[in-house]
Symmetry: C2
Subunit: 255 residues, 2 copies
Amino acid sequence: MTDRPETGARAEPDFDEEYADLGATTRNAMEIAETSMDIVREFVPDETLADRLRQKSVHSMGDIEFQHLLRFTGTGPDGDPDEDAPVRAGARAVLDAATVVTDITMVKAGITGRGHDCEVIKAIGRGTELAERTGMTRTAASMLELDGEGALDGSVVTVGNAPTAALALADCIEQGTRPAVVLAHPVGFVKAEESRARIREACEARGVPAITHVGRRGGSGLAAALTNELIHVATDVRTGELELPPGSGDDGGAA
Amino acid sequence: MTDRPETGARAEPDFDEEYADLGATTRNAMEIAETSMDIVREFVPDETLADRLRQKSVHSMGDIEFQHLLRFTGTGPDGDPDEDAPVRAGARAVLDAATVVTDITMVKAGITGRGHDCEVIKAIGRGTELAERTGMTRTAASMLELDGEGALDGSVVTVGNAPTAALALADCIEQGTRPAVVLAHPVGFVKAEESRARIREACEARGVPAITHVGRRGGSGLAAALTNELIHVATDVRTGELELPPGSGDDGGAA
């Protein structure tokens, strides 16, 4: 199969035939994705909404053990910790066509355009003047500028790359900003883990639902995948496959 | 520090002051990146060009052990395997302002716009008709369409997400296509690892330098980071910090 004569010709008909055959096993990306999720479900529980995000984390990281690194911050109607709370809050925000805010272009590029009416905006590119004047990172400045415009309140805020953006977001939340849900997944060796701990601390103190993880790994791919799963949960609610408990104030709201 | 009164006010002067202070330790993203690379260099060798890519993989994956998963395909002037060959080939292609081709938008979004004159294009979005007609994935079809246009020859081709794009690329190479260098880093449980093995096999057989990895992990962030490191190597050559051995045919070329 790999030993075809090297003709230099790239006649489309040959490719058609070859890929029509290959198609018998791979068929299309949807089937690959479904097969992949079937494999994931052999190793990750499939009971709760949080489990759906655990599955997605394993899928996007290509690592079965990553499921154990996710952390869910939020409370249920009874005020007790509830892992599903940030998933419900995120799905409700998507159904309400809330704004989705990402830190950088790469995360925005990874968020599906289908299944929602949310505007997806990126922070990066804003706050240039503030960054130059103060020496803070561009991503931190961009997050503060968005906050000043009120763009973070009620939004799905996803930080996939920049620890300083997550640190700035934690400060905004402590100052009174109320995203619908926060996803924080910076990767790396400097301030990434610390920034996610700060997000958990600020979100728990102020009643903002959040999805984060522990450790040094993570990144834009994970952040986009988990945001997409909130969109998929919202789609399942919209199509009647899934029902969320009524009300949303019990999942967070101002402390 | 986290216990400031919740005033709801987000006066910029407060933030300025706070971040100017924070700036004393984090200063800016460049410093975070440098500190981070210093940590990485404690755990990854710093001897060869391939080591630079190992360092970058560790940095982008947030995992010190990832360095051992990279694979370098290529030969030196003596015809023996040479891990630095694909790095040299990639840097030379960047210096020649070769086209950089990515499979999906997210990888393209992660590639720096600085330090090179390369046009960066993405495959996805092309080949729609071919995909519909044959049932192959859109990313596979898009890669074949680019190949039909001759856009892969002499290019830096980076596949970060789609196994079927990597499989299609391997077929193109076996048909006679000659990228300057291939980076293949699909993530996941279905065909990702297989697609990278196929790239290694095709590239080794046809003398195309390649950077890949083993295992199920990987993804767009890794692919973009390694492509960016080729750009950084090229910059070091341009500024005289680094010298590449003359000639390039010895790093690959038609078998």
